[in-house]
Amino acid sequence: MLLNWTLPVERLLAEFDAPCNESIAPAADIVETDDGFRLVVEMPGVTRENLKIDLENDTLTLRGERRATETGKNVLLNGRSSNRPFVQRFALGKDLDRAGIQAKLENGLVTVTLPRREDTKPTRIEVQVG
């Protein structure tokens, strides 16, 4: 089981509530595969050094810091809000193997694979013909 902590409504409320310098929740895909789950999270402009992935209790937190658009320069258009870090949280079920979590960062996309624990994978029961 895998849940995204930040529901769209919560996110909207947080956006209203939070000062401008707080984090924003980037777009994320959640895919259930045969072996577990795969997450894809947008983190444009985030380098490997500035990406932190933490697992605390049952919460997986992805945090990406970006270099802000040049300050002190004449910014004509500002659509990126690059002063705010990206933060996404996911709740992990007991059926996921913590030790097997892997992540990669490629072209501004973070892909996290979360395998299911071997003993929780569905098994087929052979039916004996009597």
Binding site: L2, N4, P8, R11, L12, E15, F16, C20, I24, A25, P26, A27, A28, D29, I30, V31, E32, T33, D34, F37, R38, V40, E42, M43, P44, G45, V46, T47, T69, E70, K73, N74, V75, L76, L77, N78, G79, R80, S81, S82, R84, L105, E106, N107, G108, L109, T111
Partner: protein, 146 residues
Amino acid sequence: MALIRWTPRDEMDVFAHDPLFRRMFDLASDHVAGESAWHPALDLVEEKDRLVAHLEMPGVDPAQVQIHLQGDQLTIQGERKAESKSEHGKILKRELVVGAFTRSVQLPYPVQADKVKASYRNGVMTIHLPKAEEHVGRQIPVEVVK
């Protein structure tokens, strides 16, 4: 003047500096997923002798991105292929927008088209557009008459 498809949202970029407006419409990220709804976030920064455009386009193959400059109109076109294909599993949530996108911006200065350079790093496309000679600020030495 080139013929550019009008995207109403571009008009809203003038409000994009306003923090309240930004949060209200969440201009930083597109949450409406689906084909052709993608509108990569764009920054345009003026430096002394050039303009610099930054576009957020994570997961895009830079070889498939086309950058056009016609007059003072800069147009960036590209496509993002679906990473999370359904044949690789069951999609529980899809927020990443896939498909083609076009972003157009009118530049405030003429630029030297032959010297435009673009680079793609960490999902961000950066385009350097050197200003046309006559628009680069020059320092005029002042002769002091004693």
